[in-house]
Every structure is written in structure tokens, then in C-alpha cells.
């Protein structure tokens, strides 16, 4: 149970990091993730099953079969990036507002994802679980399944968070942080704000695709409906994280997104397991997610009215989301 919550929280935490970048860093309310998340799942599943099929017939060398899980995860990232690029182009070239641009991409990707899945609404991965295969390759075959999964998910999520932390300390990362804060300040230093925003949206959706690839692996299948509700889940995770940990450090802000995601999965698990005591059924989980977001906003609004100690010295980038 606890491993399940942790693994799920970490895998969907990568998605929440993408949501954090678009909603918090860029101030760009991006719904594309509802398309990029399943796109990542579909791309990864398609590659893994194709590799397994050709591996079984001996048409590809064995090293290729061993590399397939990593290629699949990378493909998930790239598929997400392409969805983000589509939204960004629609937004910047046609001046379509962010929400509508996201809806357009998400709607279109439903059909694209069905094509990637070979025309079927889902693709099982029971025998070809890339995450598990990769973990087994690294840790040895004797490690129990849930521990191997946990190790892989932990490694992946922390690696992504660490790389993002590093990125937000580079010139590009600092400019991206400034873009959501004050676009004029970015224009003033001779940077094309549209290109920079495009980079951010592509990165955010790439993370959603990566998360989708891991999720397909963890669930044992990729489904065209994987994306339903992931924006709200990601947002709820980001906000839960902000409630439990206040910091102006970008590193801590990224870490708390993962923390929030684990908390969110824990709450959902609790609602599923013990919700019946309060008359809550699994049908009510979406309502619960919505109420969680509203509650988090309400709490942060209330907390903002009370004086609290200002940010300490030593922070690096800090973003609006860091000041509830």
C-alpha cells in the first residue's frame, strides 16, 4: 500500500512538475497535459510492444531489446514535447488564448494517441513493463517487484527534479522565471519572449509525456483516456505542496511538488480505502480533487492576509507560487 502510494506519487509527481512549470513559472494555464500525458503513455507502450514483438522473432539484436525501455521513456518525453510545441504554435502564431490553445491540442491528440496505440483504445504491457525491466536490469532480478518499482520511480523523479533545479539556475532558466513574473524585464534584455515561453511549454509537456510513459509502465497498460483529470490532479499536487512547505528556493519548490503529489495520492488512496465510512465512493474522487484545489486556494488566500515572516536571505529564483 505505502509503496503503491509512493510510486504513484513520484510518477505523477513528474507530471505535477510539468504543471508547476506551466501554471506557476510561466503563468500559462496549459490544459495540453491532458493530451501530452496519454501521448507519452501511448508512445512508450507502442515502442515497448514493437520491440518485444521483433525481439520474439529475433529480428533485432538483443542489446536493442535491452535498450527498448529507455527508448520508450524517451519517446514518451518527445511525444509530450510535440504536444507542447503544437499548443505553443497555436498560441503564439494565431494569438489563441492559452486555455483554448490547450483545449485544441488536447482534443486533436485524442485521435493522434489512438493512432499511436494502433487504433485501439488501450495497449496492455503486462509482460513488457519497461520501468520494471529497467529496474531489474540495474538492481538484479532477485529484488522484489514493488521495491524495484519504487527504486526506479524514486530515481526518475529525483533526477528530473535535480535537473530542473540545475536548469533554473542557468541563464535560460532565470530568464524563464522572470518571464512569468514580468515579461517586460525579459524583453528589455533582448530575449524573444515567445521563443522562451515555447521552450517552457515544450519542457512542461515533455515532463507530462515522460510521466505518462512511467504511468503506463506502472499501470501495465496505456489507455487513450489516461489524460482525463490529470491537470486537476497536477494542480492539486502543486497546491498541496505549497501548503505543507513554504520556500523561495526553486529547489525546495520543485521538491515540494513531488511531496504534494505523494500527499495527493495518499489522500486519494485513503478516500478509496476508507471513504465508505463517510459514504464516499470512487465516483466521488473527482469531486474530492476539485474541493481539494478550492480548499488549497482558500487556505492560501486566508494565510496571505496574516502577517508572516518575510523570506530569508539566500534564496535564488523564487516564483509567485512560492508566496501563497
Amino acid at each position: 500500500m505505502i509503496e503503491g502510494i509512493l510510486v504513484e506519487g513520484l510518477i505523477y509527481g513528474i507530471l505535477a512538475l510539468g504543471v508547476f512549470i506551466s501554471f506557476r513559472v510561466l503563468d500559462f494555464p496549459d490544459l495540453t497535459v491532458e493530451g501530452s500525458f496519454p501521448a507519452g503513455a501511448a508512445a512508450a507502450a507502442a515502442i515497448v510492444t514493437a520491440a518485444a514483438r521483433s525481439g520474439a522473432t529475433g529480428s533485432v539484436p538483443s542489446w536493442f531489446a535491452a535498450a527498448a525501455p529507455f527508448v520508450a521513456v524517451l519517446a514518451g518525453f518527445v511525444a509530450g514535447c510535440l504536444a507542447g510545441l503544437a499548443t505553443s504554435l497555436v498560441h503564439h502564431k494565431l494569438k489563441v488564448p492559452p486555455l483554448l490553445a490547450g483545449i485544441v491540442t488536447m482534443t486533436g491528440f485524442y485521435s493522434i494517441n489512438l493512432r499511436i496505440l494502433g487504433g485501439k483504445p488501450n495497449l496492455p504491457l503486462i509482460k513488457n513493463n519497461p520501468l520494471l525491466q529497467a529496474a531489474r536490469t540495474w538492481l538484479g532480478p532477485s529484488v522484489p517487484q514493488d521495491l524495484a518499482l519504487l527504486a526506479a520511480a524514486l530515481l526518475a523523479a529525483l533526477l528530473v527534479a535535480a535537473l530542473l533545479d540545475l536548469f533554473f539556475h542557468t541563464e535560460t532558466g532565470i530568464a524563464m522565471g522572470a518571464l512569468g513574473d514580468n515579461e517586460a524585464a525579459v524583453i528589455q534584455v533582448g530575449v524573444n519572449p515567445s521563443s522562451l515561453r515555447t521552450l517552457g511549454i515544450v519542457l512542461a509537456n515533455g515532463l507530462a509525456g515522460l510521466s505518462g510513459a512511467f504511468a503506463a509502465s506502472y499501470q501495465g497498460f496505456a489507455d487513450v483516456n489516461f489524460g482525463a483529470g490529470v491537470v486537476a490532479a497536477g494542480l492539486a499536487s502543486v497546491m498541496l505542496g505549497e501548503l505543507v512547505l513554504r520556500s523561495q528556493f526553486i529547489g525546495a519548490q520543485l521538491f515540494r511538488v513531488l511531496l504534494g503529489s505523494i500527499l495527493f495520492r495518499g489522500l486519494m488512496y485513503a478516500a478509496r480505502s476508507w471513504g465508505y465510512l463517510a459514504g464516499i465512493t470512487p465516483n466521488d474522487l473527482r469531486l474530492l480533487t476539485a474541493l481539494l484545489i478550492v480548499g488549497a486556494v482558500a487556505i492560501s488566500k486566508y494565510a496571505a492576509k496574516r502577517p508572516r515572516p518575510g523570506p530569508g536571505a539566500g534564496q535564488r529564483i523564487s516564483l509567485r507560487g512560492g508566496r501563497p
Binding site: 536548469f167 539556475h169 542557468t170 541563464e171 535560460t172 532558466g173 532565470i174 530568464a175 522565471g177 522572470a178 513574473d181 514580468n182 517586460a184 524585464a185 525579459v186 524583453i187 528589455q188 534584455v189 533582448g190 530575449v191 524573444n192 519572449p193 522562451l196 523561495q248 518575510g310 523570506p311 536571505a313 539566500g314 534564496q315 535564488r316 529564483i317 523564487s318 516564483l319 509567485r320 512560492g322 508566496r323
Partner: protein, 263 residues
């Protein structure tokens, strides 16, 4: 050097007729000259600066900065040689980022690279630069800019505008929102930076005294055009009263706002 030729700017407004803001305005500012731009509200002073910076586009006419015809370039391209400070101290900085990150952002123009924005060595250089403001900000490098006072923030914005060594500096009433002491401070910093970096500067102001003192030349605007242009000996002989009288005579009409020009 800035060369504005027959700049025509109009904004659409409800009910057919467009509102004309710049009427075939021409202005040549030689390299290294500081020009004060004065005029009543709605004369087109800010629009002239916006047109040079690229925030507002011309209906017709041309703008050449340092030999480059830039009237069709987007704002972010022109920003590579144009620095600007607006009236609102919040406008030029990223408030939720630290002082050192803001300085690092502003220390170079053009595309961003994937290398660390702040290194111990670069932080030392930036601290030395911000120390020149004389506000003790060098000890608060890791604090958020939103925690600075208006005067501190505007001084920082000014430093950020010149740090990357633009050739043109556009200042749009950049001391108007500050208290007198801070306005004085930011004005003297402005003078120092313009001299140090050899900038060509256009300064929009409502303060006639400062307009005369800070610049080599005073340009008076009214109703989208230039109605007076004073420099050299003529300018140095001029008092604030003379300037206000010139303003009245050139503008034709007379109204209560004149009192504001005298303080």
C-alpha cells in the same frame, strides 16, 4: 545617434476617427547627447519613446538608431541597443526574483545560454556594481526585489538598464513616482551613468528645473509635434520662468496645468 523622420502614430478609438498621437514628428539626436522632453499631458512624449523602443509601431515614417533602420523590428530586438526605465518602479524588474538574479538577467543582452547565471566570480562583480548605488543593496543580493523600496527598486532598474551597455537610454518620467530625496538620488545616478557609459539619452520629465539642468538640449512637444527645441547657449541662458513662458507662447492656449510645471 537617433534619427526619427516623419513619425506618424495614431491609435484607433471608438467611433471612426483615429486619435493621432504623433504627427509627422522628426527629431535627430547626435550620439552622446542628453535631451529633455517636456510638454503637457497627451502631447505624445511617452509615445515618442515607445515608438523608438518598439512598444508602439509607426503608421508611417522611419526610425534609425546607430545607422540601423529599426522601425519594423520588434521590441526585443531593439532592446539590444535601447535601454529604458519607465515611471513605475515595478515595471523593469522581476519582483519575485532576487537582486542578484535580476542583475544577472540584465548583465547581457541577447539570447540566453545554458550556463550558470550566477557564479561566485560574477556575483562579486555584480555586487561591486550595485554597491555604486550607495544603498547597501550589495549586502542584500539574495533578497527578493519586491522587498525593496520604490527608490531602491528604481535605482536598481536604472542600473539594470545600463549594465548591458546599450547605446540609447530612454527614461519616461522615471523619477516622477519617487519622493523628492529619492528622485534627486535617481537623477544624479542617471547623470553619472549617462556620462560613464557615453549614452545617448531621451528623458521625459514634467520637472522644468531638472529638464534644464540634466540635459544638453530641451525639446518641447505639443499635440504630437515638436513646438520648441532649445540647446547650446540659448539653453544655458534660459531660466525655468523663461522656459515656462516659451512653453505658453508656443502652445497657444493657457490652462491650469501650468502651475504643475513650476515645481
Amino acid at each position: 545617434m537617433i534619427r526619427v523622420e516623419s513619425a506618424f502614430v495614431a491609435f484607433p478609438q471608438g467611433g471612426g476617427e483615429d486619435r493621432v498621437v504623433l504627427r509627422d514628428l522628426s527629431l535627430v539626436v547626435p550620439r552622446g547627447q542628453t535631451v529633455s522632453i517636456i510638454g503637457s499631458n497627451g502631447a505624445g512624449k511617452s509615445t515618442l519613446l515607445n515608438a523608438i523602443a518598439g512598444t508602439v509601431s509607426l503608421r508611417s515614417g522611419s526610425i534609425v538608431v546607430d545607422g540601423r533602420d529599426c522601425a519594423r523590428d520588434p521590441e526585443w530586438i531593439r532592446a539590444r541597443y535601447v535601454g529604458r526605465v519607465r515611471q513605475n518602479p515595478l515595471a523593469g524588474t522581476a519582483g519575485e526574483m532576487t537582486i542578484v538574479d535580476n542583475l544577472a538577467l540584465a548583465s547581457r543582452k541577447g539570447p540566453r545560454r545554458l550556463r550558470m547565471a550566477v557564479t561566485p566570480a560574477s556575483a562579486k562583480i555584480l555586487a561591486a556594481r550595485v554597491a555604486e548605488l550607495g544603498m547597501g543593496l550589495e549586502d542584500r543580493l539574495r533578497e527578493n526585489v519586491s522587498r525593496l523600496s520604490g527608490g531602491q527598486r528604481q535605482a536598481l532598474t536604472l542600473l539594470m538598464a545600463v549594465l548591458s551597455r546599450p547605446s540609447v537610454l530612454l527614461l519616461d518620467e522615471h523619477t516622477a513616482a519617487l519622493d523628492p530625496a529619492n528622485a534627486e538620488l535617481v537623477s544624479s545616478l542617471t547623470k553619472r551613468f549617462i556620462a560613464e557609459f557615453g549614452l545617448t539619452a531621451l528623458i521625459v520629465t514634467h520637472d522644468m528645473k531638472r529638464a534644464l539642468e540634466q540635459a544638453d538640449r530641451v525639446v518641447m512637444m505639443h499635440d504630437g509635434g515638436i513646438v520648441a527645441d532649445v540647446s547650446g547657449e540659448e539653453k544655458s541662458r534660459m531660466s525655468v520662468i523663461d522656459l515656462v513662458q516659451l512653453f505658453r507662447s508656443r502652445r497657444g492656449t493657457d490652462y491650469a496645468e501650468d502651475r504643475d510645471l513650476l515645481h
